[in-house]
């Protein structure tokens, strides 16, 4: 059994009529499209806004920290600073090691003065 074009047209026409019944109006579709577009914009804007706020917050904290470090100007410079436990390194005889020994000289010369030195 074959089906001619008019029968196919009739069937498609029924389908078209059925679709027409549930077709939303143009105004509805257009309005929903605009609303969706607006919400899409807000979806894209929201992460950007959150990112910007986070950046500002981090920058503020960073700058505040930097300022708190610069406040300690009254503290001694690292070159002049001495540790409180430095005295423990001040052992007896440490002055012998403080300078380079001369060739031919003895460390004892410093500890026990020679007659030539004593003669002065």
């Amino acid at each position: 059994m074959t089906m001619d074009d008019s029968e196919l047209r009739r069937r498609f026409s029924q389908l078209r009529e059925a679709d027409r019944e549930r077709t939303p109006t143009f105004a509805q579709t257009h309005q929903r499209a605009r609303a969706r577009s607006a919400s899409r914009v807000s979806i894209f804007v929201r992460p950007v806004a959150i990112g910007a706020v986070a950046t500002v917050l981090i920058a503020t904290i960073w700058m505040a920290r930097g300022r708190s470090f610069s406040h300690s100007e009254s503290a001694p410079a690292i070159a002049t600073w001495r540790a409180p436990t430095d005295v423990l390194l001040d052992t007896p005889g440490s002055e012998l090691l403080a300078e380079m020994p001369a060739l031919g000289a003895s460390v004892l010369d410093k500890m026990i003065p020679t007659p030539s030195m004593r003669g002065t």
Binding site: M1, L8, A18, T23, T25, R36
Partner: protein, 189 residues
């Protein structure tokens, strides 16, 4: 003085022209809206929610100037092409979403306003054609929908589908024969 006013006058004229174009575009869209919805339904596997979503995207594209009518074919034929392209793109996106396990929650879909009994009755009447169309190859289904449902010529259908007229004719002939067989079989059962 005149030279200072000239750009302002030109700008005002352009703005007026744009507003007129916008109104004209909206009127044209409104005129073919029902037809577009039917075509969007065909492009979205007859899912009315998906069809409306596609149509919304298309209207935004057209009204925002992202899709421009170049006058090479009729406005309706051109718009059908945009709908077809947009539906395909939305299908790809949906496929990707499913792949990433981001399924759209079914309960978010608005319920049909038609009672289930009425819907069932209508469905049973159209079921034969629906099923037969679903069994056709995509190109055959598209060309038959464009010719029989939207009453386009095969040449216009070819433009919408972005294929040659010869190819559209082949799909049309094969699709029609197959559809007739499928419908005859469903009647015989």
């Amino acid at each position: 003085m005149e030279s200072a006013l000239a750009p302002l006058i030109l700008e005002a004229a352009n703005a007026e022209e744009r507003a007129m174009d916008d109104i004209e575009l909206r009127l044209q869209l409104e005129r073919v809206h029902a037809d577009c919805f039917g075509w969007a339904m065909a492009c979205c596997g007859r899912d009315s929610d998906d069809a409306e979503e596609v149509l919304q995207t298309v209207y935004l594209k057209v009204l925002d100037g992202r899709a421009r009518y170049d006058g090479r074919s009729s406005f309706r034929t051109w718009l059908f092409g945009v709908i077809r392209h947009t539906a395909a793109s939305e299908r790809r996106k949906a496929w990707l979403r499913r792949l990433l396990l981001e399924r759209k929650a079914d309960n978010l879909k608005p319920e049909s306003t038609v009672s289930p009994d009425v819907e069932l009755d209508r469905d049973s009447r159209r079921d034969g054609l629906h099923r037969a169309l679903a069994d056709l190859a995509a190109r055959q289904r598209e060309v038959l929908q464009l010719v029989f449902y939207h009453e386009l010529t095969v040449e216009e259908a070819a433009t919408v589908m972005g294929i040659s007229t010869g190819s559209a004719r082949t799909h049309y002939a094969r699709g029609k024969a197959r559809l007739a067989t499928l419908l005859a079989d469903s009647q015989a059962l």
